[in-house]
Symmetry: C2
Subunit: 120 residues, 2 copies
């Protein structure tokens, strides 16, 4: 974790349907870990919470973002679906684009801050 982004973006489509940094990071972690449990461990989040976030995401989108399998040799696991990859990609792109397009405003605000010794 090199540095937490200075710009956090949350998309909210009403009625409990929202997407922010937390869910995006979780998608990333699931892709890395290959399981919800592993992702939870990796980011210090309880399995139950990770699972419920996945539940929310799968419900919010037309197609599930995370595919899960139970049992089997290694107990089961979870992977990002094509939709999951797409959503994550779009979100990351949005983050990048917004930070880029808003760089001037962000810099202006940062310049007005008190005591920016470390700039973070």
């Amino acid at each position: 974790m090199p540095c937490e982004p200075a710009l956090r973006i949350r998309l909210l489509f009403g009625k409990g349907k929202m997407l922010g940094p937390g869910k995006a990071d979780l998608l990333d972690a699931i892709r890395d870990a290959g399981s919800i449990a592993g992702a939870g461990r990796a980011m210090g989040m309880s399995y139950k919470r990770a699972w419920s976030l996945v539940e929310e995401m799968n419900a919010a989108f037309r197609a599930p973002l995370v595919a899960r399998t139970r049992g089997g040799a290694r107990g089961g696991g979870a992977q990002l679906t094509e939709a999951g990859e797409a959503v994550l990609g779009h979100y990351r792109a949005l983050e990048r684009i917004a930070a880029e397009a808003g760089a001037a405003e962000i810099a202006a605000l940062q310049a007005m801050l008190a005591d920016m010794s470390d700039g973070r």
Copy 2:
């Protein structure tokens, strides 16, 4: 209130210094109401909370964003300083620019949502 923005942006400069929709709206309300108490009433927020947010903001930036006066004919009041106007302006501009620059990604995500009957 036409529609709450689908895009919420939070800027975080570490160590308790952060700026999001809540504080921005509060600045707006203070400019409208001419007082912290009035702003709090207008947005259904306790005076204490509004006051502490102002405190945070004034501490976070080099120059205070909100100028307060106590006592007097109408009890006192609060107005945005030049710095306050500037910060609010930069934040609103950032919101606008980000939403504009990220429109394509946002639309792509929205298109993948389930059941967007009301679009909100």
